[in-house]
Subunit: 109 residues, 2 copies
């Protein structure tokens, strides 16, 4: 969970996926499992939270999955992005991915 | 901060804004301030965290602002969405808004 000590600013990495219509539930599960395995492989990931969209507002633009990653700082993100295990995840995701959206931000409260 | 007790599932409400190019810094600040005032007016908001995009990946599709709202449950969201103060916020935002994207999810860890 994205525990955040009151004073400590954290760097959030918010990743949204829309899967191809052709992606099967098993393939989507494979991607979820692969993402959830990343914290054990990349220590710069301080926390990971995720879920599937249930907004009633109809403003999700087809995105179904949200992965909410936390780093201590930009140095952590800089290790993560080119990390071999992150690249390997990208290969698992690639064939099933229709759209991805990423926004990162420093917590400001 | 989105403190989350380890066991307790929370309902996250992730709101992304892209402002019109014509929106001035002061107008954007007005929207930020108005959003940040909502927790004091709508008690169903259990926490609010926000920030502006600094992702180096170039996958933000123009979205600059992220507001990460937490409710206890869907009942909290159902009070929030039609709430007069939320509607009033929408009026402040409206003239400056280019795009909005909303995804909600139950935390799953």
């Amino acid at each position: 969970s994205p525990e955040k000590t009151a004073s400590k600013k954290m760097l959030r990495h918010v990743v949204l996926f829309k899967f191809k219509d052709s992606a099967t539930p098993a393939q989507v599960k494979e991607v979820e499992t692969a993402f959830l395995a990343l914290p054990s492989k990349i220590k710069e990931i301080k926390s990971l939270e995720w879920g599937t969209n249930n907004s009633p507002e109809g403003l999700a633009q087809g995105f179904t999955h949200v992965f909410f990653v936390t780093f201590d700082d930009e140095a952590g993100r800089e290790v993560y992005l080119p990390h071999p295990d992150h690249k390997a995840f990208g290969k698992v995701l690639g064939p099933y991915l229709d759209k991805v959206l990423v926004v990162d931000y420093w917590t400001q409260e």
